[in-house]
Symmetry: C2
Subunit: 420 residues, 2 copies
């Protein structure tokens, strides 16, 4: 940074350079999270792209919106990993990546990408390896989720089959843990000079979260699994309700005050008081709200079904009741939710077009808004020239020999600027 | 750290002190994630505990297993927030928290806990405020989830009602983003001396993740929502199958090789080849596997239903096919999964007893194994003595006057040691 610069104008991760050899969700999301806070994240793919290059959903052009979403604001380099010279270039880039570099984030399992091999060229290496299981066996979000209890308690009461989440929640958590791990290790390196070899297993992420949320302790201590309860909230009061205009809303009363406000707003205060007396219950207590959830919900149902969403909104305004309307992704586009949120901004994504795309949910000084993803390989020449000092002629020869990806003159803006 | 210490024996976040004024999941998980990597995380609650003190699940003693799970390895202080002197003690602790301190993580909205108030006592303050919506309106995981599209595409095909996830995935992601934000800001502070005011909205976490996974771009570009497809995998091949012994397994073929291996292992290779010819399809392509998922799954069903899980395991061993058995939380206890995983270790949790509890999924040198959660307020006296230099007599007077929580002689081990 230049002297005299306002320190808060500097991105929190300014000066950090990360080489990401990744595919699918977790590792790319980890790199993305750091890129959004100012790190220079260079995603390095095999020529032609990784296994996630064509993952659905696709834009009409055939380009993967999943890939572009997970690689916003990175630079893209393609190397021929099948050729020893291509593999050596990766080591050269790592060695040349400066004092804020020497950081590798990967979910690839090849030996030449592992910590022992890469620490030879960069002794202060910080290397984070994402894997399926701790012992190296592969796993993906769908198999980890099946193995971790949640699908058996998700979905409508009475259903017999498991219900998988659609959100790849374990991949998301794993990617964010990876970002935490790299920053923690970089802090130690700044203090001591030492690098780190970190492994992070997707299956462990799921077990750790299930443990910290109390599921594993509950199973150990009580010997029982909690029941499948549909859209009710375990140990509290929450449920979806249909409205007069055919919409659905979720309403939640987490605290005594929430419940009192809900009872008052729905005109059911005296009804609930009478019911509490009959049942010997106190609906101010979360346990009692939960035990009697069916009768409480049955009493609330007519209130919701007699009102449109607009009327629900009017009648719950100014109360502490937590509620929201169920919305689809196209609703979020159509109702202006995306346009109204300053976290999202306009980008022009090559081969997709203009889009509202998210930046980091971490609102902090010094960070930029959303940037498009690079076109695959768009930054190969710039990165080889910038980090390794190779000439245009050298780079052209490497491309002709197939050691690096083809240099497309029209390969798009690379690490593009946001629309302004 | 002492000179001559092996730098890798030092925890990555050694020397960091975080004051956490928190409740429920996101903020506590953020602090926990940093505590697991060596930070001294001091959770400060109002006397008697926060709103999450009794959240289910509960141990037979009535203590919340949710609270203990989310506060492992922290220290616990209770202050009387209703009293100006209790509030001032929080500022005193912040001022005295050393060069690695001056860090506040909170989801509480009170003005005296906000950045402007606390930066007066600690100008280099790093303050991360978790809130529901960016504009300060409240929201919780259940309402954010309803508002973000996923419940309408989760669950069995043909179902009309929304299906909420049971895993509070947005809270989990929010807590991990908070850990990232604090570490990123602490890096900037080490370089520039400047603090940071960071806000993080739960609703923004959900929108950012939906955006980065392509859901928002898909809705914008195609104008349509993807369908509800049960336990199939959008744009690929994955589904649950019943086995001969009444279990269920999830099987996934993400790549051409996975599918070829699945076809070979199930003896269906020539059947699939014939079917590809009839349909004009190439099941090596993920799009074609997805389009024809129903017929592919129908052909696979008899293979699974004719085998026990042990036979499925035997027949898929050595192939690249990704699969796992659906398991409940009690299955994970009974089948030895928890005991076999070195991430989990034995702790003795006060008022709960012996448990296998998780440490960090980030496997890195210098970190300790799992530690129990403190008893509420167990560390009040030690923290006031250690950071503020108060005498036992001063502390006793504060407790008698109700400025701090009662000092229980039997208040448990506080930041206890793991079983060994």
């Amino acid at each position: 940074m230049a002297p005299g610069t306002d320190p808060r104008a500097i991105a929190p991760l300014d000066g950090l350079t990360i080489l990401e050899i990744s595919s699918f969700i977790a590792a790319p999301l980890g790199g993305l999270t750091l890129a959004e806070l100012g790190a220079d994240v260079i995603r390095i793919d095999p020529v032609g792209g990784g296994a996630d290059q064509g993952r659905w959903p696709l834009a009409p052009s055939g380009i993967s919106l999943y890939w572009t979403g997970l690689n916003q604001g990175k630079r893209s380099v393609t190397l021929n990993f099948r050729d020893a010279e291509g593999r050596r270039l990766l080591g050269d880039l790592l060695a040349a990546s400066g004092p804020g570099g020497g950081i590798v984030l990967t979910n690839a399992g090849q030996e030449w990408l592992a910590y022992p091999a890469l620490a030879r060229v960069r002794p202060d290496l910080i290397h984070l390896q994402i894997q399926g299981h701790r012992d190296g066996r592969p796993a993906v979000d769908y198999t980890v989720n099946a193995a971790t209890g949640f699908p058996l308690i998700t979905g409508p009461e009475g259903l017999e089959s498991p219900v998988n989440h659609v959100l790849p929640a374990w991949d998301v958590a794993c990617g964010l843990y990876a970002a935490v791990g790299l920053l923690a290790a970089e802090r130690r390196r700044r203090r001591t000079g030492a690098g780190s070899a970190i492994t992070l297993a997707l299956a462990d992420v799921a077990l750790a979260v299930a443990g910290h949320l109390g599921y594993l302790a509950e199973a150990q201590v009580t010997g029982t699994d909690r029941p499948r309860i549909g859209n009710h909230l375990y140990g509290g009061l929450a449920r979806d309700f249909r409205t007069a205009d055919g919409a659905r809303v979720m309403a939640v009363a987490l605290t005594r005050r929430h419940f009192a406000d809900l009872a008052a707003a729905t005109g059911l205060a005296s009804t609930f008081t009478e019911l509490e007396r009959l049942l010997g219950a106190d609906f101010g207590e979360e346990g009692d709200r939960y035990r009697h959830r069916e009768v409480i919900a049955a009493l609330l149902e007519p209130w919701f079904v007699g009102r449109t969403v607009a009327e629900v909104e009017r009648d719950l305004a100014g109360t502490s009741v937590l509620w929201s309307r169920y919305r689809s992704f196209t609703d979020l586009v159509a109702d202006g939710t995306l346009a109204a949120n300053p976290m999202l901004g306009p980008i022009t994504q090559p081969a997709v077009g203009p889009l509202l795309a998210p930046g980091s949910p971490l609102a902090v000084d010094g960070t930029a808004g959303p940037r498009p993803a690079p076109t695959l390989g768009a930054d190969t020449a710039a990165v080889l020239a910038g980090l390794l000092g190779l000439s245009a002629a050298d780079i052209g020869t490497l491309a002709e020999r197939g050691i690096i990806g083809a240099l497309a003159a029209d390969s798009g803006p690379g690490q593009g600027a946001p629309d302004s």
